[in-house]
C-alpha cells in the first residue's frame, strides 16, 4: 500500500524533525521516514553548542535568526531544551592570535554584523576564572550558549507528533522517483508519495541527493567528545581557542564536555564510529593546557557521531536546482545544531512559498555541484 502525504521528510535527526514540524504547522501533511531511530547519529551525539560565534559569512543570517528562536525555544517546542545563554568565547593565547580576532570583528562590522565583541584579559578572567593565566583576551558572543541534546530531541519529536507528523522509525529509503509532480519514496515493502520532499539524511544525505539526480559531494565528519565526572560549577560560557582544537563547556548535569573536532575512525556503511585514543589524547592535552585544574578529573564517557562534511565546511540548505519540490538540508559539518529552528522555517517557506524570509542563498547546493541544470533559477530564492 502506498501512503500519501503533502510532504515526505527523509531523516529523523533534528533538521528533519524541525522541517517536518514547520511544514505540519502550516497545515501540510507530513510523513517522516527515519532508517534507524530518531536522533541516531549527528543529532543524538551532538555537543549541542548554540553558537553564532566564528560562523562563516554565508551562514550568519540564518544563524542569527536561529539565535532569536533559541532565546524563545520554549514557545516553539514546549520545552526550553536545556538552553542557557552563557555566551561562547574564542580565546587568544597570544597578541598575534588576538590580532586575528580583531581583524575578524572589523570585517564583520563593515558588513553590519555586531554580535561578536573583543574582550580583554581582565574580562576574560572574570568570565572564565578557571582559564590558564597566559590567555590575553578573546572574542565573545554573549547571547550564544548551549542546550541539552537529550532534551532537544524529545522536545522536537513531541512537537512534530503533536503537529500531526507521521513518524516512521526503522524505515530506510532505498529508491526515489519523480513523476508528474509527485515524489515516490521506496523503503523496503513500503512506499510513500508526496509532491514535496526534504532530504535531511545527515551523513548519508549525499546518497539520497544522488537518488534524486543531484550530485552533491559530501565527506564524513566524526568528531570525538569526552565527558568527565560531575563537578561543582566550574565554567559558564563555552570556550574554544584560536590555536588549538578545543571546545570546552560544562553541562547542566555538571559534567565537562570536551570536543574540538579530533576525528574518530568511521564507516558509513556499517554506521559506526571507533574512538581513536591517540587523537583523543590531543583533545585532552589541549583541555588540560587551557584549564590546568582538571587533570585529575575522571573521564566517564567518550563518543563520536557521524555528520556530513561539505567541501567548504558550510551547511547546504536550499531547493534542488534540478528536481522540483525537493529541499536539501545537509552537510552541516559538525555545527548544524544551532541552525535547527530557523532552517525548519526556511524549508517550509521555500517549499510552500518559493521564498525564504532569511537570506540563505549562500548555502544553496549549487555551489558544490558539478553541473547545474539550466532553467532552475527559480530555486535560488532570496529574502
Amino acid at each position: 500500500m502506498i501512503e500519501t502525504a503533502d510532504a515526505i521528510v527523509i531523516g529523523g535527526g533534528l533538521h528533519g524533525l524541525s522541517a517536518a514540524l514547520q511544514l505540519a504547522r502550516r497545515g501540510v501533511s507530513v510523513i517522516l521516514a527515519e532508517r534507524s531511530r530518531i536522533g541516531r547519529h549527528a543529532s543524538g551525539s551532538s555537543a549541542a553548542g548554540v553558537r553564532t560565534l566564528n560562523r562563516g559569512r554565508a551562514e550568519l543570517p540564518i544563524a542569527l535568526r536561529s539565535m532569536e528562536m533559541w532565546h524563545d525555544i520554549e514557545s516553539l517546542v514546549g520545552d526550553n531544551c536545556g538552553f542557557h545563554a552563557d555566551g561562547q568565547i574564542k580565546v587568544a593565547e597570544s597578541d598575534a592570535e588576538l590580532d586575528i580576532l580583531r581583524a575578524r570583528v572589523d570585517g564583520l562590522r563593515q558588513d553590519g554584523f555586531t554580535h561578536e565583541e573583543i574582550i580583554d584579559a581582565d574580562e576574560l578572567r572574570e568570565l572564565v576564572p578557571a582559564l590558564a593565566r597566559h590567555c590575553v583576551g578573546g572574542l565573545i558572543v554573549r547571547r550564544d550558549g548551549a542546550a541539552d541534546p537529550h532534551r532537544t530531541l524529545p522536545a522536537f519529536l513531541r512537537s512534530a507528533l503533536a503537529a500531526g507528523v507521521t513518524v516512521h522509525e526503522g524505515v530506510g529509503v532505498e529508491g526515489l522517483s519523480h513523476r508528474q509532480g509527485t515524489w515516490r519514496v521506496a523503503a523496503g515493502d513500503r512506499a510513500f508519495e508526496a509532491p514535496l520532499l526534504v532530504n535531511a539524511a545527515g551523513a548519508w544525505a549525499s546518497g539520497i541527493a544522488a537518488m534524486a539526480g543531484d550530485e552533491i559531494p559530501l565527506e564524513t565528519k566524526a568528531s570525538m567528545m569526552i565527558v568527565t565526572e560531575r563537578i561543582a560549577p566550574f565554567v559558564r560560557p563555552t570556550v574554544s581557542t584560536v590555536g588549538r582544537k578545543l571546545s570546552f563547556k560544562q553541562s547542566s548535569q555538571g559534567t565537562l564536555l570536551i570536543g574540538g573536532g579530533q576525528q574518530a575512525r568511521h564507516d558509513l556503511e556499517s554506521e559506526t564510529t571507533e574512538i581513536d585514543a591517540e587523537r583523543l589524547a590531543r583533545q585532552a592535552a589541549a583541555a588540560v593546557a587551557m584549564f590546568p585544574g582538571i587533570a585529575r578529573l575522571r573521564i566517564v564517557r567518550t563518543w563520536a557521531g557521524l555528520d556530513g562534511l561539505s567541501a567548504d565546511h558550510m551547511a547546504v540548505a536550499g531547493l534542488s536546482p534540478s528536481a522540483p519540490g525537493l529541499m536539501h538540508l545537509l552537510g552541516f559539518s559538525g555545527h548544524g545544531f544551532q541552525l535547527v529552528p530557523a532552517l525548519g522555517v526556511a524549508t517550509a517557506e521555500l517549499l510552500l512559498e518559493g521564498r525564504s524570509s532569511v537570506d540563505i542563498c549562500g548555502l544553496a547546493p549549487q555551489r558544490l555541484m558539478h553541473e547545474v541544470s539550466v532553467g532552475s533559477t527559480h530555486a535560488l530564492a532570496n529574502g
Partner: protein, 452 residues
C-alpha cells in the same frame, strides 16, 4: 616486543602466559590488581591457601611470577582498538601496547541483581564482600542477611562463619525443586566436580541451623539514608519484613563483557546461563582474528576450567602464529577439550541446581544507579518505540551513561528491552561500549599525547 598481550592475571591468564612463554612467544600480562591471582585467587600470595583449589592457585601464581613473561600489575586497560592496539595506564601514565595477539582473560562479574532500594548504603554484593574478606580480612560487625542464590552464596556463608562472622538469615531465591530437577545431571557432574559437590554439601549443611526463608520472589531494601529493613515476598504469597543493617546479594556470575565488546568481538546469548558471551571457536579465537578469549570471560565454568581454557587458547595462538602445526595443535588440545567437556557437564548440574533467577524488576527499581534512572522510566521510554535499543534508551533516559560504564545496568537494560519489545535477549542488544573501559583521568589521557 610483545607477541601476545594477556589481559588478566587470573587462572586463565596465568596458565596461558606460562604456556605461551614456553612455546617461545613473548608475553606481556596486564592486570588491574596489585598481585596475580585474579578475583578468585585474590591476594593468594599473602594469605594461607584453603583447600586444593587454592593451593593450585598459589602454585600457579608462583610459577607465573617466575616464567610468565612481562607482568604489569596495577595496570588498567581502558581502550582496545583495531591492530590490535591496547591502551593502558600504570602509575598515572598512559601508553599503547601493540602486540600481534591479545588474549582476553578478564573473568566474570556478578550478575546485577536490581530490586527497589538496592542502591542504599548497607546493600552490597556477596562477591564484593568476599573480596573484602579475602584481601582485607574484613568481617561485618553485625550479623548479615544474605539474599539470592548460587554456590558463591554458600561459599561466602561458610567463609564468613569460619572467619568469625555471623549470619542473621538467608533469603533464598533458588526456585523450588531446582536441586531435584538437577539430579539427573548429577552423574555427569561427579567425575569433574565431586570435590566441589562434597564441599557444597558441607557448606549447605553448615547453614542448616541458619534462619532461611525459601522461595523468595521479590525483595525490597527499606531505609531513608541507609538500609534499615528488608521486605520480601515468597512464592506462596507470604510477605515479611526483617530489620537489617547489611544485606549481601548474589544471583550468579556472568562473563565480564566490556573488553570483548569494546574490541568488537561478536557475542551470543547463552540461555542456560542467561547471559551474553563472546563467540569463540574451538581454540578460543573470537570473531576478531587477533583476539582470543579464555576463562570465565568466554563462558562461565569456574577456576579449574579457566586454567584449562587458558592452556587451550595458548595452543590456539601458537598455531595462529605458525609456531604449532594444525595437526600438533589438534593433538595437544584433545585432552584439554575432554577436561573442558567434563567441566561443562559439572556446570550443567550447577546451572540446573542454581539457575539464574533474574527476579522481576518492579518499576520503582533504580535500574541505573549512576544516573538514577528507574525501570519505570526505561520501560516508558521503550514503549511504542521498537527501534529504540540499548543506546537509544540510554540517550532517552541517561541509563548507562554513568561512571560504571553500564556494568551495573547493562544486563538489566538488555532484559527490559527484550521484555518491552518482545524480542530475544540477543536481538535486544547491549550498550555500545566505548573508551574508557576503566577509570581514566584527563591528565592520564593527555599523558599519551606528551609521550608521543
Amino acid at each position: 616486543m610483545t607477541d601476545v598481550l594477556v589481559i588478566g592475571a587470573g587462572p586463565a591468564g596465568m596458565s596461558a602466559a606460562l604456556d605461551l612463554q614456553q612455546r617461545g612467544l613473548a608475553v606481556t600480562v596486564v592486570d588491574d590488581l596489585p598481585s596475580p591471582g585474579g578475583r578468585i585467587f585474590a591476594a593468594i600470595e599473602s594469605r594461607e591457601a584453603h583447600g586444593g583449589e587454592e593451593r593450585t592457585g598459589a602454585d600457579l601464581a608462583a610459577r607465573f611470577r617466575k616464567d610468565g613473561g612481562t607482568y604489569l600489575p596495577a595496570t588498567e586497560v581502558w581502550q582496545i582498538e583495531v591492530g590490535p592496539r591496547v591502551f593502558v595506564t600504570q602509575s598515572g601514565k598512559a601508553r599503547i601496547l601493540k602486540p600481534r595477539f591479545v588474549l582476553m582473560a578478564t573473568g566474570a562479574q556478578e550478575r546485577p541483581m536490581p530490586f527497589p532500594g538496592w542502591q542504599l548504603p548497607g546493600v552490597m554484593t556477596i562477591g564484593g564482600a568476599q573480596i573484602l574478606l579475602k584481601t582485607a580480612r574484613q568481617i561485618p560487625a553485625d550479623p548479615v542477611w544474605l539474599a539470592g542464590s548460587g554456590p558463591l552464596l554458600l561459599l561466602y556463608a561458610h567463609q564468613l562463619i569460619s572467619a568469625g562472622g555471623a549470619i542473621a538469615g538467608v533469603l533464598d531465591t533458588t526456585p523450588t525443586g531446582s536441586v531435584a530437577a538437577a539430579a539427573k545431571f548429577l552423574p555427569g557432574a561427579v567425575p569433574y566436580g565431586w570435590r566441589d559437590l562434597a564441599r557444597g554439601l558441607a557448606w549447605w549443611v553448615g547453614l542448616a541451623s541458619t534462619r532461611t526463608i525459601r522461595g523468595v520472589t521479590a525483595l525490597e531494601a527499606v531505609g531513608s539514608d541507609r538500609l534499615e529493613s528488608i521486605r520480601y515476598t515468597t512464592r506462596s504469597g507470604d510477605t515479611g519484613e526483617v530489620p537489617a543493617k547489611l544485606l549481601l546479594v548474589h544471583d550468579g556470575v556472568v562473563p565480564s563483557l566490556h573488553s570483548t565488546m569494546a574490541a568488537g568481538c561478536a557475542h551470543q546469548w547463552n540461555d542456560a546461563q542467561r547471559c551474553l558471551e563472546p563467540i569463540v571457536d574451538r581454540f578460543g579465537r573470537s570473531s576478531v582474528p587477533e583476539i582470543f578469549v579464555a576463562g570465565d570471560g568466554a563462558t562461565i565454568a569456574g577456576a579449574r576450567a579457566a586454567i584449562v581454557s587458558g592452556k587451550l587458547a595458548a595452543i590456539g595462538i601458537a598455531h595462529a602464529d605458525g609456531k604449532v602445526s594444525a595437526q600438533d595443535a589438534e593433538v595437544a588440545v584433545a585432552p584439554l577439550r575432554r577436561k573442558l567437556a567434563s567441566a561443562a557437564r559439572f556446570r550443567r548440574f550447577v546451572d540446573q541446581a542454581y539457575p539464574p533467577v533474574e527476579m522481576a524488576i518492579p518499576d520503582a527499581t533504580m535500574l541505573c544507579r549512576c544516573e538514577e534512572a528507574t525501570a519505570g522510566q526505561i520501560r516508558s521510554a521503550l514503549t511504542g518505540r521498537p527501534h529504540l535499543g540499548a543506546d537509544g534508551v540510554k540517550l532517552a533516559t541517561r541509563a548507562g551513561m554513568g561512571p560504571c560504564q553500564g556494568r551495573q545496568c547493562g544486563a538489566s537494560l538488555n532484559r527490559l528491552i527484550a521484555e518491552v519489545h518482545g524480542v530475544g535477549r540477543e536481538e535486544a542488544g547491549f550498550l555500545r561500549i566505548r573508551a574508557p573501559l576503566k577509570p581514566l583521568t584527563l591528565g592520564e589521557l593527555a599523558s599519551l599525547d606528551e609521550a608521543s
